[in-house]
């Protein structure tokens, strides 16, 4: 998979490394900006209140 991506990047090894780094940063950005904020409320790590257990309140 990663080998396949590497082989299909243009340029010499330095250019490919630079493009790879940019791609990694882009993936991390998308994760932090969109994926993790979406996933976090679905996971049971951060409920701090007491409630009636209806599931409506956190």
């Amino acid at each position: 998979m990663y080998g396949w991506i590497w082989r299909h990047l243009p340029g010499n090894a330095w250019v490919r490394a630079l493009i790879s780094l940019a791609m990694v940063l882009a993936v991390v950005f998308v994760l932090f900006q969109y994926v993790f904020p979406w996933a976090e409320p679905l996971l049971p790590f951060n409920d701090v209140t007491v409630d009636e257990g209806s599931g409506a309140a956190p």
């Binding site: 998979m1 976090e40 790590f45 409920d47 701090v48 209140t49 007491v50 009636e52 309140a57 956190p58």
Partner: protein, 246 residues
């Protein structure tokens, strides 16, 4: 020799398909591991960065508002109906034992509110009494980890410690009298006007802090109760009460 060379040059088709499949699977598993590691960094570090930034900007705004003379009667308690925009925050909680400075307090305990790095007072299932009300329980919730982690060190708060709530013109000084180190998340009686399990049976002016426990999980709730010992008028230089001057 010739057999070996032939095999390395042209491996059997089914074996190369299997090897390719396994190598993609391995790379995917490594990727999942890295993503989970990033998620931990996001939860325990990045959300704190965002929430602290947001809360401190919001806190500065509140303090700026406080410096301006209020439209109706400067010495008014902020209890007048419609007189105060509570959504921006009603004041700051100082807990010297937690050593985390001031915590902005806003209405509501939904994730949207608490994720801004503030403590929220309960509006449901039991509505909190605000500190300036004659009787009742000022019930607060905040995150233990992530999103500012404002109540992270709640286990450092012991009997006799001070909890100070600061509004525009009054310091409300509370003393802790009981802790409940672990209770069910459905235990809503802990935020009653006369909190059950705190040992008190008569109405009074109480404060309740709730958060999740053990750290990094939400399995149980941790509760700290205090009661009002005195109030102090805020002077022109906002001199903090003795409890905060250590």
């Amino acid at each position: 020799m010739s057999r070996a060379r032939r095999r390395s040059a042209q491996p059997p088709r089914d074996r190369s398909v299997l090897a390719g499949f396994l190598s993609v699977l391995g790379e995917l598993l490594i990727t999942v591991g890295l993503v989970l590691g990033l998620f931990v960094a996001y939860s325990l570090w990045w959300t704190n960065v965002l929430a602290d930034r947001q809360a401190s900007a919001r806190g500065d705004e509140i303090r700026r508002q406080w410096q301006q003379p209020s439209p109706g009667g400067a010495a008014q308690q902020p209890a007048g109906p419609g007189a105060l925009d509570t959504r921006g925050g009603i004041g700051f909680l100082h807990v010297p034992a937690m050593e985390n400075g001031e915590v902005l307090v806003k209405p509501g305990t939904s994730p949207d509110v608490l994720n801004e790095g503030v403590a929220g007072y309960y509006t449901e299932p039991v509505k909190a009494a605000l500190p300036w009300e004659a009787k009742g329980n000022f019930t607060l919730a905040a995150h233990r980890d992530g999103h500012g982690a404002k109540f992270h060190d709640i286990d450092k708060v012991k009997d006799g410690d001070a909890l100070v709530f600061e509004t525009r013109d009054t310091w409300y000084v509370y003393k802790v009298f009981a802790e409940l180190r672990q209770t069910s998340k459905y235990d809503v009686d802990v935020i009653n006007p006369v909190p059950k399990e705190s040992g008190r049976t008569a109405p009074g002016r109480y404060i309740t802090l709730t958060t999740c426990t053990p750290v990094y999980t939400s399995k149980y709730r941790y509760v700290v109760w205090g009661e009002l010992v005195r109030t102090e008028k805020v002077d022109a230089r906002r001199t903090p009460p003795a409890e905060l001057r250590r």
